[in-house]
Symmetry: C2
Subunit: 292 residues, 2 copies
């Protein structure tokens, strides 16, 4: 079969590689695949797990790499510790997406947390992550505070009001099943599902390749919340490296918070100094998020 695009699993002189392409930019990050450990079509997407040469095992959805054993901790720590160290006393947490279970594992490091509702649309993602990626999902039985819900994240959040201290939107890219998680109606429902002092965080894509998505997420959240802060981390697995997260809060402002509950010894990337510095944006990203 002739391969026309450099996308998903490709053959290079008899070797298998996985390509994650930014097609309009003619740019691709590609990984040499040692072995495909699992591959199946779920109800929602193609779910596969591969063994890469240099990044350990990786979860791949519809041909797009989501997380690798080597650097999953960066994304998972940044999307969880920053909001959890900002909220004065997080007890109820909801994670939308996050089927690799890495975010949930970070959330339960906070002793104040009583319940984590992890709402993943695709049970297959949780199943294969727990089976093949214990370095990301954790070994053995998950913490009993984590409640696994297999449901559409948008529908689930619409049905809950005034319930959560922190909502974490750990979605894949805004194509396929995750597209609705970048739309204004979903954000309105998230607002309603938060308690009066609640806060939410979402991954807001690459400022290099998708500045318009970051900008739209910011603008939408700024029309609802008094405090909106974008922060950055570098995830080697994601094309271009730099990745943005946006936190929106009804009360607490991370810039005014002492992150005393963030324990540097619990983490491999984030620490109390990173909690401050991640909100410092270079001029090019400042320009994207300037509103009005």
């Amino acid at each position: 079969m002739k391969q026309t695009g450099l996308k998903g699993y490709v053959d290079w002189n008899g070797e298998m590689w996985l390509a994650d392409s930014e097609e309009k930019d003619g740019f691709s990050s590609i990984w040499k695949v040692k072995q495909v450990l699992h591959k199946e079509q779920s109800e929602f997407q193609e779910v596969s797990v591969i063994e890469t040469v240099g990044f350990g095992r990786a979860l791949v959805l519809d041909g797009i790499i989501q997380t690798t054993e080597r650097d999953a901790y960066i994304y998972n720590e940044m999307i969880t510790h920053v909001p959890l160290a900002t909220h004065p006393q997080p007890k109820t947490v909801c994670i939308i997406g996050g089927g690799d279970c890495g975010a949930a594992r970070e959330v339960v490091k906070y002793p104040t947390v009583e319940r984590v509702d992890m709402v993943e649309i695709d049970p297959k993602v949780v199943e294969v992550s727990r089976k093949y990626l214990p370095a990301v999902a954790g070994e053995g039985e998950p913490d009993p505070r984590i409640r696994f819900v297999y449901d559409d994240g948008a529908a689930f959040i619409r049905a809950h009001k005034d319930e959560y201290d922190v909502i974490i939107v750990d979605s894949s890219d805004p194509v396929g099943p995750a597209a609705v998680l970048f739309e204004e109606p979903f954000y309105r429902d998230v607002y309603a599902a938060l308690k009066p002092d609640g806060l939410m965080v979402c991954q807001s894509e690459s400022p290099v390749f998708y500045p318009h998505i970051l900008k739209r997420v910011r603008d939408t959240l700024q029309s609802m919340y008094p405090v909106v802060r974008t922060y950055l981390a570098t995830v080697p697995t994601y094309p271009g490296g730099i990745w943005s997260f946006t936190l929106a809060s009804k009360q607490a402002d991370p810039l005014q918070t002492q992150p005393d509950r963030l324990r540097d010894q619990d983490t491999k990337y984030v620490n109390r100094d990173i909690f401050r510095s991640c909100f410092v944006l270079p001029n090019d990203v400042r320009k994207i998020v300037q509103t009005g």
Copy 2:
């Protein structure tokens, strides 16, 4: 001709791509090439300039992408403004390497600077950068304070004593002509070429793919200078995104400096807040630079 490695210029179903590979990690960043604007073998290396699909024009040495029009400013600003805003009054500056002229262009934004010796081993790199990459090298005639020296950087610096306020080692990777610029004898000569209150900065490679180089650079500099600080920036063009720089100073400490001379309006990436936050290292990089 059968292509066995994914390195340099490769053919993908009749399209030309440029691959920058971390071979032992089975990881590659690849760019679709619209057009090769220039390609020749200089005395030192293969020098080419390409038009990419999404990153504008790019300078390529021995098949490795050095700089692109789209993101050259990140690297060039970070390797210059941080040391120049740290030194109390930089007058004489030496740049080793930096043939794309982008670093020199940033240095002359500081009015205290009287002379910049730009020591590039390969005149072809300067020639093609000025011809094909004005967005990086600058339009028209260079600032008269810049003195172009075509010489071996190591030999040049060995012949100068007690002369510079700031030395910037803007080298390519430690293979080929740049290898000596990562060795201890060179660093000793840099120390001797600096004035008693001088400071130097070098690019110290990717903490993801070359942690041992970063560590060795740190250790070597710490055996000579009282102040050694590693800082980070994310350059989408470089595999993995994250890049390290290491500053070594005889007196001034950037952590104790108010970067008042850094004018945010002159730059596209760095600003006074980034001047502080770039020195904050995540736990994984802290671990690399901790010395025993």
